[in-house]
Amino acid sequence: MAKNDLLGASLWDAYSNKVTTLMNNPNHQGEITEQEAAEHGNRLIVADFGAESCGDAVRLYWEVDPKTDIIVNSKFKSFGCGTAIASSDIMTELCIGKTVKEAVKITNIDVEFALRDSPEIPAVPPQKMHCSVMAYDVIKKAAGLYMGVDSESFEDEIIVCECARVSLKTLQEVIRLNDLTTIEQITDYTKAGGFCKSCIKPGGHEKREYYLVDILRDTRREMDEEKMKAAADAGSKGSFESMTLVQQIKAIDAVIDENVRQFLIMDGGNMEVIDVKPTEEYVDVYIRYLGACNGCASSATGTLYAIEATLKEKLSKKIRVLPI
């Protein structure tokens, strides 16, 4: 939020002239009949995507030459807003003249780019970017019908943000490499979540399989676990000083359990580790005696030396044990 956000955007003014022109006068709206296709010796493919209950629905018509697999003609029908109609129109234009295999490679980014007036200015405002995604989806569907395969098979990676076409793998890598901690950072680095916002968290315009909030949380958790594991590994190699505080306390407890506690309990006493404080010279381990140890003369002398000696031997020469 800042000065530029105070007055809500004027949605329609953010459309490119191309979007406006095609919305007002689409070039390829209409239908291709079975008869027309047959007359040309071509195959007709008709695919639907979306539904009126979603607020957007598109029907794509392809007339494909079966000898060359080239899409010789294409039309569309659309229930949707201006950007949906303009995206559908430019989509048919991009399809014409391509083979079906080439057409499958057309993405929503290509569709949006083709609608730009100049290469550096987006054709539609961010929340409308999603309209172009349907064009991409319906092409895959038509190609699947033509080739007799599942349209999902054209997608070789999991796309989390369809508007910006950012994959799960990319997101995980970017979070790791740049140590990202917020959704805003993810959007800054990848553009994911910057458009229709459906992929950020559940409850948006569209239900998604993966959400950025979950990916961020899970990746961060994995990163933390790896960090811990690395520290623990370092600890097992003897570098007590490089452990985290919790790991140090656990290591001290483990040594005491194994070497000290049983003798104290035999004499009706016990002890607990209160805190660990590393200083320049020492690692101070604060302990408290319990039961019979409490007040025992040896607790400040012999027993104390024994505990300290054991910890020094097993963990670090810098350890100093201080009873409180």
Binding site: G8, A9, L11, W12, M23, N24, P26, Q29, E31, I32, T33, E34, L44, I45, V46, A47, D48, F49, G50, A51, E52, S53, C54, G55, D56, A57, V58, R59, Y61, K77, S78, F79, G80, C81, G82, A84, I85, Q127, K141, A142, L145, P202, G203, G204, H205, E206, K207
Partner: protein
Amino acid sequence: MQVYLDNNATTMVDPLVVEVMQPFFSEIYGNPNSLHKFGTASHPAISKAIDQVYKALNASDNDDIVFTSCATESNNWVLKSIFNDHIVSGDKNHIITTEVEHPSVLAACRALEKEGAKVTYLPVNSQGVVEPHVVRSFITDKTALVSVMWASNETGMIFPIKEIGEICKEKGVLFHSDGVQAVGKIPVDLQAVHVDFLSMSAHKFHGPKGVGALYIRNSQPLSPLLHGGEHMGGRRSGTLNVPYIVAMGKAIELATTNIEEKMASIRAKRDRLEDALLELSDTFVVGNRENRTPNTILISIRGVEGEGMLWDLNNGQIGASTGSACASEDLQANTVMLAIGADSELAHTGIRLSLSRFTTDSEIDYTIAHFKKAVERLRAISSSYAKVQPTLGGESKACELHH
């Protein structure tokens, strides 16, 4: 010709209103709270505005009508102060409202839920209104407030405020109504109904934006939302917005004088427009005419997406809306269409046309012609009106989107 049919979003300020507010900018500009004559010079005009508002609503002299900045402030004030007075500092825990309220009620309620209030959002029937027996069935001895709009901004449907008021009175529960779409459009007689609090906004009845009011029955307690210099009898601090208060008085007077006559004139134009649009196949209008504010039509046009339709209307210089203008940037399905249980395919096909007393017959003729042309064009593009059906296996899946 350009035609403004979005009067439920806001209205043109009546030139007569502009005229009365004029002197209070550079001629009579003193602070009404000052002792000197610069300040007191504005008192007669403010008193007159107060009288005009009380008279228009048939409020009693024992009631308070406090000027605010807008109905959003009035709604927030009631909800938040009832929450503080009766839930935080009292033994209540519950607020009842409806699913179709304006965002200033719904969002405030959601904020209060986070702070610990229990809120019930009542559903509406197929006419888009809440039925009184539904309100009754949800009132408990922990209910602090019932808040139900007087008329819907989206459908124009008028809610059974009299009946709900009686129920609240009988149950001893406070009753607030967001009267934004009712005041100035239909008769609002505060002696004939039992309403504890009523919110209103001047820009909905040809007054300026930035001034509204909250009616408080019998001057009953309601802790202030804005603390400060104890203006408006200590109920609402902030230097009195003199020109706008004067304007609101004039605007409400103009809107409510001979209101039956004005309603009949607007209704005749609205009905003519509605009849003409319903001649188109596969259309329907939400809510029966008799129980609607006389200026409003929410029409669904099968096969035509709402924003696409607005685009074409805009190209024809006609300003309309797909629903709540305040939320028009997010372009989601019409919440009222969904709430009344309309076929989900139609939830994105709603177009709201709202007239005013300034709408002319020739504007209606122009709108009818252009509207029909737009529907024809968009249906020619629409997939729902396609003749060639999808290749086997190429049909669309059901919508998986959230709404």
